[in-house]
Symmetry: C2
Subunit: 545 residues, 2 copies
């Protein structure tokens, strides 16, 4: 039953003999190479399977005892795993930031594993180290546009770093705030610095009550992880309400001042360059002024929106990002690189030294080993994927991709706006938008209602939105996500909305039309819709109670 023999000879074959061209695994590869969309639509089962059902296939914690033939295993993978994975390449999967990738990444991923470099040190990566530094330099250049001599001086300097490559935006944000914390509370006369002496001693030495990080309520949850991890504590994450989806500079300044007047110290303001939920961009230039006035670090989380800088047409949206002390960009988002390519960029190439570590057998003093200033240790050569993408697509290629995403989002917003039973909740700044389904008559009723009653009715609409989102996902043809947020229309309480990310270049306007139509059909068949519209009874209850 697919059991392979257990012998060293068999094992050596696994390491040295390629799979036969007709083997199952080779067939999978070939199908992927020939037509990935066809492979996915053939193997990913779209019909509803509950997570609990899928868990049945992964329920045993016993370690497999005997080897299994590769081909037997490949069959199992197709049946149990691929069949119940998510078709992120699908043009109608527009609910999250994961999307189709360019074809060349399939081949490059094979090369990456074939080379199996470890970028923590030069001895296991050699050319990959300068390559990664160059990629960081190019991205630094995209954000900060420094002079040629600047990059000549710092790109390959053993004592400097233009940024840190990492697995994703969360580690990038943590790295940025780690550097900020260690810079702010660095060594001083009679004090060895927070990195050595710890946070409690540092706060005592610098006579600081609490340390805080300020951002809008749309700040990514990684910021909350970061302040927890760094010992600042989640109460130190000061999140300001943002009914307009962006951080108000005036309010940020007031809040920062009030915070500091109580003997606290603001470590950083985090401006968001594309919120995860709605794609809004904080007024970065004005926030840079606020950070300057408060004397704190300015970090921009542009994990999503950083790639907007490739576009001459839309670059203006990110104005002020070049004044940030550090910037997070994820290449696995709008740069269409496989998962695992995050970056923090540092305006000042000396700042990364605040987190520099050495070891005897590697990362020796004066070495160019990348691991000395990254949070992670051993890492793969994912920077190659970014390098190749930058070359194969070029700035102008990325520009087209960014432009068409934003333009498509605007078209979709228009469609929603024009449909009587849909409400656009947030317009696209970048290629994200949120909206909801809500029968026209209910929209009119809502406008006429006093706040308290409107809230109760909106609670009912929330249920409709949740139902439609779930039923649509289960139908398997398309996927939008959902979230809860405050909208300018309905005041201070949050409502539930559909969230759409138009990242996939393969998504067409016809796809979007079909998605709206599908949602409308599902909604009209839903019990809550009927409650809301058909019988006047329950609605009247809500309105009149």
């Amino acid at each position: 039953m697919g059991e392979a023999q257990v012998s060293l000879e068999h094992l050596f074959r696994v390491f040295t003999k390629p799979e036969h061209k007709d083997s199952k695994l080779a067939q999978i590869e070939q199908h992927l190479s020939d037509n990935i969309l066809d492979f996915l639509s053939q193997h990913v089962v779209t019909k509803k399977t509950s997570l609990e059902e899928v868990e049945q296939d992964f329920a045993d914690a016993a370690m497999p005892e005997s080897p299994e033939f590769v081909s037997t295993h490949a069959e199992n993978l197709l049946e149990k795993l691929v069949a119940h994975s998510v078709n992120t390449y699908s043009p109608t999967f527009i609910g999250h930031m994961t999307s189709a990738l360019p074809y060349f990444h399939l081949s490059l991923s094979k090369l990456l594993v074939g080379l199996n470099q470890n970028l923590v040190k030069i001895e296991t990566s050699k050319a990959f180290t300068p390559l990664e530094r160059q990629v960081l330099g190019m991205m630094h250049n995209l954000v900060y546009e420094q002079s040629e001599p600047f990059y000549e001086q710092y790109l390959h300097s053993a004592r400097h770093a233009l940024g840190a490559f990492c697995s994703g935006g969360t580690v990038a944000n943590i790295t940025a705030l780690w550097v900020a914390r260690n810079k702010l509370l660095g060594p001083d006369s009679g004090f060895s610095g927070v990195a050595r002496a710890g946070l409690a001693s540092a706060l005592r030495h610098y006579n600081i009550n609490n340390l805080g990080v300020l951002c809008s309520k749309r700040g990514h949850y990684s910021l909350s992880k970061a302040v927890d991890l760094l010992g600042i504590g989640r109460e130190g994450l000061l999140t300001l309400p943002c009914p307009d989806q962006v951080l108000d500079p005036e309010k940020a300044l007031q809040a920062g001042k009030a915070y500091q007047e109580q003997g606290n110290r603001l470590l950083a303001i985090v401006g968001i360059g594309g919120t995860t939920e709605t794609g809004h961009v904080d007024p970065l230039d004005e926030l840079a002024d606020v950070a300057k006035e408060l004397g704190c670090w300015f970090h921009v989380d542009a994990a999503w929106g950083g790639a907007t800088l490739f576009s001459q047409s839309y670059r203006y949206i990110m104005k002020g990002i070049e004044r940030a002390d550090s910037v997070t960009i994820d290449a696995h988002k709008q740069m269409y690189v496989p998962m695992g390519a995050g970056m923090t960029l540092f305006k000042n190439p000396e700042h990364a030294n605040a987190v520099r570590h050495h070891a005897q057998y590697i990362l020796r003093e004066g070495s160019k080993d990348l691991g000395a200033t990254t949070l992670e240790g051993s890492r793969n050569g994912m920077a190659m994927m970014v390098y190749s993408s930058l070359h194969i697509l070029g700035r102008r290629g990325y520009e087209l991709l960014i432009n068409q995403s934003i333009d498509k989002a605007k078209q979709f917003a228009k469609m929603i706006d024009e449909h009587p039973d849909f409400e656009l909740v947030t317009s696209p700044t970048l290629s994200l938008l949120t909206y909801r389904v809500c029968p026209q008559s209910v929209q009119q009723t809502l406008l006429a209602l006093p706040a308290g009653k409107a809230q109760r009715l909106n609670g009912k609409v929330d249920r409709l939105v949740v139902n439609v989102q779930k039923l649509q996902r289960e139908a398997g043809k398309s996927f939008v996500s959902r979230t809860r947020l405050e909208s300018p229309t309905y005041g201070a309480y949050p409502i539930t909305v559909f969230r759409v990310v138009l990242a996939n270049p393969l998504t067409t306007v016809a796809d979007l039309k079909a998605i709206l139509q599908e949602q409308h059909d599902i909604a009209m068949r839903n019990r809550v819709w009927q409650d809301l519209t058909l019988s006047g009874e329950p609605l009247a209850n809500v309105v009149n109670n």
Copy 2:
């Protein structure tokens, strides 16, 4: 000149049209599939190229403006990157923990990128989520051997986690100590816990001067990063000298007691399950007793050695690991999975809740989204590689791999011991060992010298070892690394040694013989060797001064 046109049509082709079968990239893939060792030996240039020369190819920080044809780019990659990367598959590359990988990973990596799942949440990973949980369960089972009902209860429980998958051992160690810190300084009457209130408040509330982590001097540098990051500070990492390469439980207990008597609190003892430098394993069972007596967390960093548990013959070396509160294992080390597969395992499935985070649009309360208890956010489906390896190799396959590595290390140690001009410095516990080249006459002189003079002479031998290691690396046929460590023979000061990791199953005893021979040849031709042996002059100077 390889410039592709900039049009949306061209870009869509990059996303939708596979490379032609005769394209350069397809050729690279084919060569990798057919014979990876041949691909590497044909394309990786072994002759000496300085890092500075390689940097010339990656010197420009200007963003590429126009798209490049994929095939042109693939040529460039071969010439600039692959040629100057490191052949980690080579059987004579025995200096680090990076090695050849089984063939099937080449195909699986392509499948992984083709599926492009994001494991932060079920909506972008579906079956990958239960798969990752199962992998963590199997590894938990390997370490902790709990009952079937235990795994039935916890494997897929939304409120529990048997571990956290991450990019590597560094993040795994940080995660373990993060959980330990948040558990120790958790919520209490009138206190919201360190995660919310921060470390300074927590230490005040619990009336603790300083927080400490104790390990031997061989503790991995990631522990130093961890205490820095967590706000404990590097001074809080108490590293005890270990002339025998392992942490002495008696001394650990004394040091821990003395530390706590000063109003400090020991957060954790870290036992090492295979040190990075010599492969030694701390006496884990006794350290578990010490941790119990001191009332602190017990973490085992088994990033390297964890896979020893697959071997019935050598499992005993890790005895006591099952008493650890948390264990780090890297699948990209002795489990032969591509880079990027670290894990922390938690004995108690509730502990991970100490770092649980939620967000509105994902990681909702009660969801099984993996991102709620991992340090990282978006992550790729690397767990599939571990899953497939566990099935295709099986426990018994891994057992054979582990056994042959350790047995080979023992054979190599014997060879070194028997050679008059080599000294074995640390014997292999696992598949690592350290040694040095030192002319027989000098070895005899050293034994007869008083400590101070022996140290000066050893300084000269150090230089020989450094020279040989560098020249061998530059010659490009083989690679061993080097480090500095205290040896039992020469007392308290460190000496420079060759460090060998026998991870690659393709390395033969004949390869090892050839490596020793090459080192001996290089050494005998070296000026320092001649200084040490030929003319009595400089040696006499050292000895008589």
